[in-house]
């Protein structure tokens, strides 16, 4: 086992995958010599050559569109979108093509790929280097959405995503790219299964659902809540869609109280779906209104970034409110 950060762990996952399966190719802006602006693809071009790692033109539509073609051929492309905020020029290809290809072709074709992209705030990136666009893609039938919170999971979830038969959007929380460290078996192959959430802190009073970078805020708030005698159960979703509904429902049946945390704007965010699912499946157990602590319904600001993000300071009062309801 080696201690590594998330950047290194995903890099290691890519190496393992590419060594094992020559159909895996990496493409995107600056993924070659520079190894990506966050260095996630560092060194891949040296190991696997310019026939499997491509610096592309500045064209997200071209990256995803050609990746679809590669997938139709039978390769397993891993396109990188430099920041999730720049996925929108490729939105038509993702929503109209990647998501619908298997369905519309009666199962003849699949557009299997894993689209990697850094998401979320925390690097002082302002509107356009901070967004968390998961809700758009969850609302689009045909896509799976993953967001790891630590290096071990990141590697295992990436390898599971790659082997899953369906297209996956792999969201990398850039705030913890280097901050989160864990033991990761370097060069080894293992998977962390999709659609299986993880109870990272068991508890009985309030269920706190989070993922990615905000998981740490949820844990911090829960630890503070414990000082007030509130015993939180914190769930790391890991896969956002299809979500592990059983883990959520089991927890809520126990606690009757829920706080959902995410960075994306509140309205029509994934939090809304989670609240609705909990209503559908555990209404009779609810002791308090499921509560969302999220980014505000504004563009992501620059200077006030830390007032925008749903950090522990904002989660804690929500936990307290829900616990006391």
């Amino acid at each position: 086992m080696t201690q590594m950060n998330m950047v290194k762990a995903i890099n290691d996952a890519l190496r393992v995958a590419m060594r094992q399966d020559s159909r895996v190719v990496v493409l995107g802006e600056d993924v070659g010599k520079v190894g990506g602006v966050f260095r996630v693809t560092e060194g891949l071009i040296n190991e696997f050559g310019a026939e499997r790692v491509f610096d592309t033109p500045l064209s997200e539509g071209g990256i995803i569109g050609t990746a679809v073609g590669m997938a139709l051929y039978g390769l397993v492309p891993v396109p990188e979108i430099q920041f999730a905020d720049f996925i929108f020029p490729a939105f038509d290809q993702i929503v109209s093509e990647v998501a619908k290809f298997r369905y519309r072709s009666g199962g003849e074709y699949t557009s299997k790929m894993v689209i990697r992209t850094p998401v979320g705030g925390g690097i002082r990136g302002g509107h356009y280097h901070s967004q968390s666009p998961e809700a758009y893609f969850i609302h689009t039938p045909g896509l799976k959405i993953v967001c790891p919170s630590n290096p071990y999971d990141a590697k295992g979830l990436f390898l599971a995503s790659l082997r899953d038969p369906d297209p996956v959007l792999f969201f990398e929380p850039k705030r913890i790219y280097r901050a989160a460290r864990s033991d990761v078996p370097e060069g080894e192959d293992y998977t962390v299964p999709l659609s299986v959430a993880k109870v990272v802190r068991p508890g009985n009073h309030v269920t706190v659902i989070a993922w990615g970078a905000m998981l740490y805020e949820a844990i911090e708030a829960s630890n503070k809540a414990a000082e007030q005698g509130i015993d939180c159960e914190v769930i790391d979703l890991r896969t956002l869609w299809p979500v592990d509904i059983d883990t959520i429902v089991n927890s809520v049946k126990k606690t009757g109280r829920v706080v959902v945390v995410h960075e994306a704007p509140k309205s029509c965010g994934f939090g809304a779906e989670l609240v609705s699912l909990i209503n559908e499946k555990a209404f009779d157990y609810l002791e308090a209104p499921p509560t969302r602590v999220t980014g505000w319904d504004t563009p992501f600001p620059y200077t006030l970034e830390n007032d925008y993000l749903p950090l522990a300071g904002r989660i804690l009062p929500a936990i307290a409110r829900v616990a006391k309801y």
Binding site: L72, G106, D166
Partner: protein
């Protein structure tokens, strides 16, 4: 220091209106092949007419045809090698059938019935046909272009010797996807031929309003592609140009091939072209119909006759009639199919939704016919 100069080549032509053949460009197709391709054009035309009628009768929901563009569609597809791939726009059912899709499957797609290869999920004329090395029709304009380029790029990376052609209208050159696709083709030198069916119209928008570029072919210069133009109403010229383009593409020089043709009908069965086109102009275009042009050539060579024409049409009519009957008899897709293929396996939420759908009363108006 001066920049590069560009010269756009001539428009490739083979068959003069008087049926003489330009010897330099003659692709040298055998008489049998010429007849077969002509027959295929006629079949496409007959199908087109019949499908429009079925739509007018309310028996199918929609049709988008290739009337006037048969030489372009069939001439390009005929030039492919067996191992090559074809990525369609939506007017290429002639190419689909040429590649081997049975008429019945096509007709089932037109009805969206339970036998439709795409399970009644898409509108008519939105076929997929992987067994025939034929892509999947998608309505959003242009998306197939980047895909074809990516496909050819992948084949090249894997050392497989194939080319891919991709169809789109001149209107689609304005799309994001044309730009991305052409650019990636140029940069990665993918074995791709981009086939622009310039039929002069994007629904009601004329080509002159689509782009201020003097020709569509010259857009190639923006991407390091080879520009080519061909008389798209001339089956032999289209065949010849496509062969040449494929040879270039295989040699690492992707081509943008503009086929100059006409849309001798509305955009689709939903369109009424008389709202925006003059009768005279339409008549002038009908005079350039690729079918009589090829027929005159075959007749001059003694390969075709009015009698053969009648007999062939009767044969096609009979086949189409049978296919229609079978398509109309086929059951609608079962409810189950609505929830399949979203993912390879149904996750819990789709299992639940399927269960829920079973308890709902079936709505009226199923089955597409």
């Amino acid at each position: 220091m001066s920049g590069p100069e560009f010269v756009l080549g001539d428009v490739v032509k083979v068959l003069e209106p008087d049926s003489t053949v330009h010897p330099d460009n003659d692709p040298g197709l055998s008489p049998e092949r010429c007849v077969a391709l002509y027959e295929h054009m006629v079949m496409t035309r007959v199908l087109d007419e019949r499908l429009v009628t079925l739509q007018r009768q309310g028996r199918i929901g929609f049709h988008i045809g290739s009337m006037g563009e048969e030489a372009t569609v069939i001439g390009t597809a005929a030039a492919l090698d067996e191992t090559d791939w074809l990525f369609p726009c939506y007017r290429e059912f002639g190419a689909l059938l040429l590649r081997g899709m049975p008429l019945q499957s096509y007709m089932d797609n037109m009805y969206g019935n339970g036998n439709d290869p795409v399970k009644g999920r898409q509108m008519p004329d939105h076929y997929s046909a992987k067994p025939y090395r034929f892509g999947s029709v998608s309505s959003p304009i242009g998306t197939q272009i980047t895909q074809a380029v990516g496909f050819a790029w992948a084949a090249k990376l894997r050392g497989e010797k194939l080319a891919a052609i991709v169809y789109f209208g001149e209107g689609a050159t304005s799309s994001n996807e044309f730009h991305c696709g052409a650019n990636f083709a140029g940069v990665y030198k993918t074995p791709t031929v981009l086939i622009c069916r310039n039929n002069g119209w994007a629904i009601s928008v004329p080509a002159e309003k689509q782009s201020a570029s003097e020709t569509f072919a010259q857009k190639a210069f923006a991407y390091g592609l080879v520009p080519m133009r061909v008389d798209g109403n001339d089956l032999l010229a289209v065949y010849k140009a496509t062969r040449d383009a494929l040879a270039l593409a295989r040699a690492g020089k992707p081509v943008l091939l503009e086929c100059l043709t006409h849309r001798l009908s509305g955009h689709s069965t939903s369109d009424d072209p008389t709202r925006y086109r003059g009768q005279e102009e339409m008549a002038a275009e009908r005079a350039q119909d690729p079918l009589p042009r090829m027929r005159a050539y075959l007749e001059k060579k003694g390969l075709w006759s009015e009698q053969k024409q009648q007999a062939f049409i009767a044969k096609v009519d009979a086949e189409v009639k049978l296919a229609v009957e079978a398509a109309e008899k086929a059951p609608a897709p079962v409810l189950d199919t609505m929830f399949d293929d979203v993912f390879e396996q149904r996750p819990w939420h789709l299992r639940e939704q399927y269960e829920e759908s079973l308890h709902a009363p079936r709505a009226q108006g199923h089955g597409g016919h």
